[in-house]
Symmetry: C3
Amino acid sequence: MNRPKILATGIRDVEFGVDVTVVEPCNLYECTIGDGCFIGPFVEVQKGVLIGARSRIQSHSFLCEKVTIGSDCFIGHGVSFINDAFRSGEVSFDSDRWEATSVGDGAIIGSNATLLPVQIGPGVVVGAGAVVTEDLLEPGIYGGNPARLLRGK
Amino acid sequence: MNRPKILATGIRDVEFGVDVTVVEPCNLYECTIGDGCFIGPFVEVQKGVLIGARSRIQSHSFLCEKVTIGSDCFIGHGVSFINDAFRSGEVSFDSDRWEATSVGDGAIIGSNATLLPVQIGPGVVVGAGAVVTEDLLEPGIYGGNPARLLRGK
Amino acid sequence: MNRPKILATGIRDVEFGVDVTVVEPCNLYECTIGDGCFIGPFVEVQKGVLIGARSRIQSHSFLCEKVTIGSDCFIGHGVSFINDAFRSGEVSFDSDRWEATSVGDGAIIGSNATLLPVQIGPGVVVGAGAVVTEDLLEPGIYGGNPARLLRGK
């Protein structure tokens, strides 16, 4: 009978600002979380992620390496970020080949949305359940799979 | 080095019926869960939610404030409910502006579905991965993003 | 005041190969996990599931009964498998009526994808956020809701 190596979620080597609230269990490591942020339960935030002040990361969301979140953002529940788009048809185990995502200040990402490596402009609203496959830089509300502009601002 | 305020998931101020089963870790607070319900792991149910008798809430689902689930419902895995549709393009921190969702008796919500604030009729089936943006009152099977009627009953 | 029956996630009756890594909390029971696999946090793997060598099951994913994963597969974050397609418009509580899913060797399933009971061919790439409603046997990259071939190999 083989025994697996068991790791545990937790908070390790995170640089927190002041007045941050975190709900455990969650898995946060080697990332930077700004003043006044809220991190809900069942969240994973990986190495190198930067989260700006007063942003809220809701339950069940996953922020991978190479993601940067601005200030005053709202990341809904069950949101998944991606840094490997499998463009070659294969998984890249070399992080040098992973791509970055940035979410501008005040942007809102709806629940269960999925973001390929893209740039999201300040104040952009990504609707719930949207799958974002390209940059969304113009202000407005986007939704669908793939995400399209639903309404400009 | 700042330290965050750490909260923990758990079960707090929940009114349970008889014969309810809950799998921890989960985060249930100030809600009402009827007789014979099942609540899977990694689930969050927020304040004021009502869940009718014999309904099953599967793993990874999120039920926000202002959600009402009927009796004999099946809520799949990774389902996310929403009470703030960001209609103004901004997050509403005032709960008076949040909108309600109701799921009728015997309705089925497929896994990874996402529901904006809507009414789901009794016995309606929402397919897996659907994004529901408007009321679905007529019996039938709905799917897609946005969800459309796939097959009437 | 009624008290619910409380169960806890954990690892129970799992047959592990050598060099497996598991991140807790997760819920793994009565399944088989091959040599060199990685199982991320907040994952549930149910009874009877087979996972081939060196496959990675990322955080927040749910593998239900009757799922078979090949070797060298990558199952992204928040992926949900389904064995009951509610074809009758009702939930089947009889497991004899559930349907199987198989994922071929080297296949990649993107984050937040949802798979109805289907066959996925070896090396197939399912894009993030896709909803797979039919067999995907030909090599290529598939995406959308419902998933369509985006690019052959």
